[in-house]
Symmetry: C2
Subunit: 108 residues, 2 copies
């Protein structure tokens, strides 16, 4: 991942509502969630949400596909991991950065 992409991804996540949206999508799994359900869950206006989706999408953090009248948004895990990779790559270059990254999940 390039520095430009990292800045874009960081900026996309650096906002309350967007971080909520992304976390919700991450928990929703690969299937994703329709925009309306996200709006209702988080109590956000649909047009506001569109604005945030655009940010997340152009940062490559979420994908969108149409299903009937709904548009389903889903987290792009690879991108998230690329960001983490970039950050750790530039963090722990032979230094005592004490990773201590706890892994509670089930790696694929």
């Amino acid at each position: 991942m390039e520095k430009t992409d990292a800045v874009a991804a960081l900026a996309a996540l650096a906002q309350d509502n967007r971080l909520d949206v992304f976390r919700l999508l991450v928990r929703a799994g690969p299937t994703g969630m329709p925009a309306g359900a996200i709006a209702e869950t988080l109590g956000l206006a649909p047009n506001t949400l569109t604005f945030h989706f655009d940010r997340l999408r152009s940062a490559g953090l979420v994908s969108a596909r149409r299903d009937g009248r709904s548009i389903i948004y889903a987290a792009r895990y690879e991108r998230m991991n690329a960001l983490l990779g970039f950050l750790t790559e530039n963090c722990c270059e032979g230094l005592s950065c004490t990773p201590a990254r706890k892994r509670t999940g089930v790696p694929a």
Copy 2:
């Protein structure tokens, strides 16, 4: 780490010059670097740099101490790792998030 802190840290890193500053400090090691040297290395005006230091510092990502006339800034690795922890914690909750986090560094 709280969500508020995560947003603050992400916002602090989500800017070209600040990301440069932080990466430089991370590579400089625990000893840190004087503000002037950072300014020269990155080609930034000292007052602009002060602005960015403030952001990084109030996000808890760097520390500052005085040494003579210079002020030495240093990366706070724990904070960086807390952020990574927060992101992975909220990322891989039993999902196929394919971590693939390569570890090139030397963990403490």
